[in-house]
């Protein structure tokens, strides 16, 4: 009787162990299928031409499969959106963690969560029908669907990510550190800048990287708002075509297992590797500089 109970318990333990590995299994399957459907393009186009080719004309004859403009577009929208989202996200996090009263916090934190939950297609739609005409008039430019608009919309998608993770990092700074600083006569603000922020720096970096990772992979916003021109932009008001936009817009028309189809999967592979890379860095920073009490400062 006792033995059977123990046996059952061990068995259940192993079953759960298997379930826990599902995430890893899915991740590996994603990589496998992207490679399987993406690599055949390199029989037609050399790796160098694919990554550094300046022309993406997948449907012309002969087609051009150079994703350089797409990669640059992705990096540019991510960087531009980061320049808005990082200050905004971290400042909001500091406000929520350090400055806001409990009552304000009770309302403000759910608002950030709601902002995070807005479907990307709705933000893309908003950028298209409200922000784009506004920008067109305000800056007197040919189209409001451009790099700037897309970056702005993306910024508001990554702010909640940056804000929530930063806030966790800030609240987990040991209270003694702040108390010591205040006791030495520093103002609250000085304590935040000199003590709290340095102590939570690794958490803040993780937040920033994950926010940028979210921005680079975001699809609907760049699909609807970035303008869609697969060219190297010369100004911030030029339309661009980031990688996710290209995949989403063209997959429907690409002939099954044709060169275009393979090229889009290969683009997906590049995108996947980019986000994997961002996550690697975030993982590394948060493990390497894990804050364990005040002693590790």
């Amino acid at each position: 009787m006792e033995d059977r109970r123990q046996l059952k318990d061990t068995l259940i333990r192993y079953i759960f162990f298997l379930f826990a590995f599902v995430s890893i299994a899915i991740l590996c399957m994603i990589l496998f299928f992207l490679v399987r459907e993406g690599v055949p393009i390199f029989e037609k186009v050399s790796v160098k031409d694919f990554f550094l080719g300046k022309y993406w004309y997948p449907t012309s004859d002969p087609p051009d499969f150079g994703i350089f403009p797409l990669i640059i577009a992705s990096l540019l929208v991510t960087l531009c959106s980061a320049s808005v989202a990082i200050p905004l996200g971290i400042m909001t996090a500091i406000y929520l963690a350090e400055i806001a009263s409990t009552r304000v916090k009770e309302i403000a934190k759910p608002l950030v969560e709601l902002l995070a939950s807005l479907p990307s297609v709705v933000i893309g739609f908003f950028g298209m029908v409200i922000v784009a005409p506004f920008l067109q008039d305000a800056f007197d430019i040919p189209t409001g669907l451009n790099l700037f608009n897309a970056s702005l919309m993306l910024a508001f998608m990554s702010v909640p990510t940056i804000c929530t993770i930063s806030e966790d990092a800030i609240t987990s700074v040991p209270i003694e550190l702040k108390e010591a600083s205040l006791a030495l006569g520093a103002t609250h603000w000085e304590s935040i800048v000199r003590v709290v922020i340095p102590a939570s720096l690794s958490g803040l970096s993780t937040a920033v990287i994950l926010g940028m990772s979210r921005a680079i992979g975001e699809t609907m916003v760049v699909l609807m708002v970035a303008g869609g021109a697969a060219m190297l932009p010369s100004s911030i008001f030029d339309p661009v075509r980031p990688m996710p936009a290209s995949i989403a817009a063209e997959m429907g028309e690409a002939p099954f297992r044709g060169d275009h189809y393979y090229a889009l999967f290969a683009t997906g592979m590049v995108l996947f590797i980019f986000t994997l890379f961002f996550n690697f860095i975030a993982d590394y920073i948060s493990n390497k500089h894990r804050q364990v009490g005040a002693a590790t400062l």
């Binding site: 599902v22 608002l111 709601l114 297609v121 709705v122 603000w189 975030a282």
Partner: protein, 294 residues
């Protein structure tokens, strides 16, 4: 001499106080900008969308090449897809969370699993779409269908469920477990009879959040489940469906009369955010209630 030192100190104190006030105002503005962004989006959708919403809009199929009529097939499609995603993700997610919180010990296995979950959470939704297309639609020959879409969305929302379920399990006090084990229950009996029931309300909150995430997702269902236009409502899980988010995208970018259907686009977007934000609000309110009772 001493007089001037005092005034100098007062002067710097004043300046330090002043810079603190100025910075705090700046931070408050940052927070307000975020709230404002949310309200502006909601405001414009309601302002331009509320007229489109009436009984016909919610209960009819689109007609005249989607320039008139309603969005019933999209609502039904979105409900099927997101509920299907939960059927996939909920059991998997809870099982993962149980292992992570109740069984796992620090070590290489745990780190690998965590790494997998973190990375899965970071995979772009369009990549999930490609994956679903390659695995479910093509390789498993499920076609563009509710089933393919639900599986894809289920995998996409898995990290959300794992995260919230783990947090819920962690919040169950260890004294509960010790009491149960002390009475002679096995580990599994303890989990099943004591820990899970205690954590269930919070786990359900996570489920609602994941449901809303799946309902608003577009890129992952573009190639796996959603169809431009169909007149009939789905009758099996191997049917293609229309879905709210995809419908917004289609009407706004590829419809025959983009300007003419603007009110339908706003209306559809309003229905979608009402669904999504509504579910989120329910989850948030329910969660804060749970925390207060604890």
């Amino acid at each position: 001499m001493s007089q001037s030192t005092i005034s100098l100190t007062q002067h710097t104190v004043g300046r330090r106080k002043y810079s603190q006030v100025a910075m705090f105002v700046l931070f408050r503005i940052a927070a307000i900008i975020n709230a404002l962004a949310l309200f502006i989006v909601i405001f414009f959708l309601i302002k331009n969308g509320w007229q489109a919403i009436n009984w016909t809009f919610l209960t009819q199929s689109p007609i005249d090449s989607m320039t008139k009529g309603g969005i019933l097939p999209c609502i039904i499609g979105t409900v099927y897809l997101s509920v299907g995603a939960m059927i996939v993700a909920f059991p998997l997610g809870i099982a993962s969370a149980i292992y992570l919180n109740e069984y796992a010990k620090q070590g290489i296995a745990l780190r690998t699993i965590r790494f997998g979950i973190n990375n899965l959470a970071g995979v772009p939704s369009v990549v999930f779409g490609l994956f679903g297309l390659a695995l479910f639609v093509t390789w498993m020959k499920l076609g563009v269908s509710i089933l393919s879409g639900s599986l894809t969305l289920g995998f996409l929302t898995l990290p959300v469920i794992i995260g919230t379920a783990e947090e819920a399990l962690r919040a169950v006090p260890d004294t509960y477990r010790e009491a149960s084990l002390g009475l002679g229950a096995t580990k599994w009996q303890t989990i099943y009879r004591v820990v899970l029931p205690a954590a269930l309300p919070s786990i359900l909150t996570g489920g609602i959040l994941a449901l809303s995430r799946a309902a608003g997702e577009t890129a992952a269902i573009m190639f796996t489940a959603a169809v431009f236009y169909t007149t009939r409502l789905p009758s099996s899980i191997l049917d293609q469906v229309m879905a709210l988010p995809y419908h917004i995208y289609v009407l706004a970018t590829a419809g025959t009369e983009i300007e003419q259907t603007r009110h339908l686009q706003y209306g559809t977007a309003l229905v979608l955010i009402t669904l999504v934000l509504g579910m989120n609000l329910i989850a948030i309110i329910y969660r804060s209630k749970l925390r207060r009772n604890r």
